[in-house]
Assembly symmetry: C2
Homo-oligomer: 491 residues x 2
């Protein structure tokens, strides 16, 4: 076959995509597994939809409504219909729920892990394919379903290995601000979105920047002008006062009591009542005040949220190997969006849910050393010292595996030096060497590949470690026990 | 937003793709998890490549060389390069290995689970996206690496819950037949492929059909003519004699001894030696003779195999829910292919590996009831009898979860009847009911939703079961223990 032609493509990964290495995959798996166990316990059902959806089904549910449809990878099927790779997991859920709506057991609570694809300009650390995890409840209109999402998010964070001091969940209800806008007589959609976007920039721009965006608009450092919401001075003062008040803090009950006082009969009333019920449920579930706080300045950027919203902030700061901090906005966020399937069926269906980026979160957890089960078992390489003895080496590796270790007989080519270098590069803990001499005397040589690093780490225990040799001989029958003893001494 | 326009796309899944339901996902996960644990123990590293590869990189490594490039989903990137969704996991491995060849720790042993996409006409049970699992060893030329793949396949089958009597692995070496062809003076590539394809059809066409394909060719029932390999009568007799001899069976050592006698100094000699070493290793690993047999009639359809090949046959017959048998060819198969990266670099690199279809295999295992861990824990629904008491219902569900059950407070709308119907449709084991009366008396009602089915199953134990009521009351403090007691009595 190789003779047919000699065209040689260059071996190259497509731009903006990544090959995931073993340690990254193990971290993501540990996270996916921990989070799945939480969703399962709570009675959520797993769902997997295909990578493709018809492009028309994706249109409305892009998570950022500023993003055009060009952001997806699309192609035409042979019957002429345009398909596109999913951009998030919400649009496929909407299609799935709408398609089988009559037979769907409601409320339909599902979780889904899956790759999503974004046809964007690749940049450093920005990939065009990554893994997301979404949990949603379709068909439940009450705040209990929102409380459930918040509690789930907290339990996922804990299952991922975070302590309660590592994160905080900020909760709000969009209708509180709607009440403020209503009281100003300015509840039209465009203005509402501009006000929401202005508030969403509070962290970045401060009160002054937000006031500009609430009013005529703001010119940024580059000279670009963002048109404002056009509120008059009284209106701006009302919104800023609302934000200011949200900084007062306090327990969840204190915040709702304060909000109840000012809500009057506006739209905000429903928002306050939702927060009251959410508080009751979070309290019944033992979720501490510090872990889930009510913060009326949280708006979440997305236009489609209609009720309770929340975001999870990582308080621990993971760092890259070079020591620089990883920048994280919200780790997991979500809220209520009550027009999930309406664009397909015209029928209003309540829904609430939340989402997190698996790849990013797993990277942060790895950097913090918090993910349990992400480390592989110690690896032992049985050196192929004598190619005529491969069957014996395979038997040794099998014994080591039975003891819970990772183990392999070296299957490649190369002398002892090359094989030991291989063991080093594989980050193996031990190499086992058994040549003619050892076979004759019924022994094996064990080389402890981590002893050096171990010595450097535990200088105080120097005397103890000094006793241990890097390479030592044991009877063949003690191969496994000798290695396990070394490992357990190491703790 | 809903006002903008009233275009309503039809909610429909793209043709040829499937939404995977919870029980299917759980079965696939159990299989993936069991198989991953095996690969990890053997020191294989996980790898995840992106869904896309450049189309030119996919060309050569389609698993069936009759299939044209049109079989892939391709699209042009904005820099004009054609990308395509991967068709299998071998082509991405080839690209990955070639791209980083200098720095690759060799032998590079990796496993990968992943979706693959085929742009084919959809048909019943034929999907355009499914999950495969591949394990490969790049850089090891010796038969030890092939033996490792066979042992791995056996261990994966066992880890998936199969007994040794449920499957058999048939092993051969392609060079045995090459020896026969060489001795006929007819070793050119086209003839070799035709002979291999003819033999691959032995099961379906019998000796007579194969003889036609070895000679002038064969017309099938539909009248289509397949051109033959053009061997003369002596040549055909030689090949058929070889096949006939392969039916003689015997232990692995008996088969190699027989083959050694006839191999002479042809290419077959290397094949016999490989099988001898493979036998030594399989025997050292305690792999029974019945589990891995040497069968020289196994050729595997793919042209690119160059040495040892094997396929795994399921002996147990899974059935569809309607009782009809699931048709399975080989469950897991593979072999040596020594031109993995040559098309990129021109450099010959030895490689061996095997692959199985996760979705199909998981379906078979589910049907056989063999997959451990594929069943979800029993589900308890806490009925929302009084919406003002949601916090209490959430607390009950949390207690049940702590005991290892799946549990949820009902978050939807509807009266008691609707909620119990929901519990039924969710296949819940219990419903917990606690209204005003129960709160007042400090009790809960438990409804045993599986008792009826349980009664029907165990008619002999009728008296015992009769004692149990379908709905009963317990003190609130005994909610969890009462349910656990029922479950453990049920075994």
């Amino acid at each position: 076959m190789a003779k047919e032609k000699t065209f040689r493509p260059k071996a190259r990964r497509p731009r903006g995509f990544e090959d995931r290495a073993a340690h990254v995959i193990r971290a993501e798996r540990a996270l996916v597994s921990a989070a799945s166990a939480v969703y399962e316990r709570w009675g959520f059902e797993p769902l997997e939809t295909p990578a493709f959806e018809y492009a028309d089904a994706l249109g409305k549910f892009l998570p950022d409504e500023d993003r055009p449809n060009e952001g997806v990878f699309a192609m035409q099927d042979d019957d002429g219909q345009w398909m596109a790779l999913r951009y998030d997991l919400t649009a496929p859920l909407a299609r799935f729920a709408a398609e089988g709506f009559q037979n769907l057991v409601k409320p339909y609570r599902r979780y889904q892990f899956g790759e999503v694809w974004r046809n964007e300009k690749p940049g450093p650390g920005r990939f065009r394919q990554f893994v997301q995890c979404d949990a949603d409840n379709v068909g439940a209109s009450g705040p209990a379903a929102d409380a459930e999402m918040i509690a789930l998010a907290a339990e996922v964070m804990r299952a991922a290995g975070l302590n309660d001091s590592d994160f905080v969940i900020r909760v709000n209800d969009r209708r509180l601000l709607d009440g403020v806008l209503e009281s100003l007589g300015s509840a039209d959609d465009t203005r509402r979105m501009r006000v929401l976007r202005a508030i969403d920039k509070l962290d970045r721009l401060g009160m002054e920047g937000v006031e500009l965006l609430l009013g005529k608009g703001r010119k940024d450092e580059s000279g670009d002008f963002t048109e404002g919401a056009g509120l008059d001075e009284a209106g701006r003062a009302r919104v800023l006062g609302f934000l200011e008040a949200s900084k007062a803090g306090g327990t969840r009950a204190e915040v709702t009591a304060r909000l109840a006082g000012s809500a009057g009969e506006t739209a905000a009333r429903a928002g306050v009542e939702a927060l009251e019920e959410i508080n009751a449920i979070l309290t019944a579930l033992g979720i501490p005040e510090e872990l889930a706080v009510f913060d009326p300045s949280v708006v979440r950027g997305l236009g489609y949220y209609t009720g309770p919203v929340f975001e999870t902030e990582l308080l621990a700061t993971p760092t890259y190997p070079d020591g620089s901090p990883m920048q994280f906005g919200s780790v997991a966020s979500g809220g209520r969006y009550d027009d999930l399937v309406a664009r397909f069926t015209g029928q209003q269906v309540p829904a609430t849910g939340f989402s997190f980026g698996v790849s990013r979160f797993a990277a942060a957890l790895s950097a913090l050393g918090r993910l349990e089960g992400a480390d592989a078992a110690p690896l032992v390489i049985v050196v192929a010292a004598d190619k005529a003895r491969m069957a014996d080496y395979f038997a040794m590796a099998a014994e080591l595996r039975s003891a819970g270790l990772r183990a392999e007989a070296f299957t490649g080519n190369g002398n002892m030096g090359k094989q030991l270098k291989y063991a080093d590069r594989r980050d193996a803990a031990f190499a086992v060497i058994c040549g003619e001499e050892e076979f004759a005397s019924g022994t094996v040589q064990i080389k402890d590949l981590k002893l050096g690093a171990q010595l450097a780490e535990s200088i105080t225990d120097r005397d103890e470690w000094k006793e241990q040799k890097q390479q030592f001989s044991v009877p063949r029958s003690e191969l496994v026990s000798a290695i396990l003893t070394r490992l357990s001494a190491r703790g």
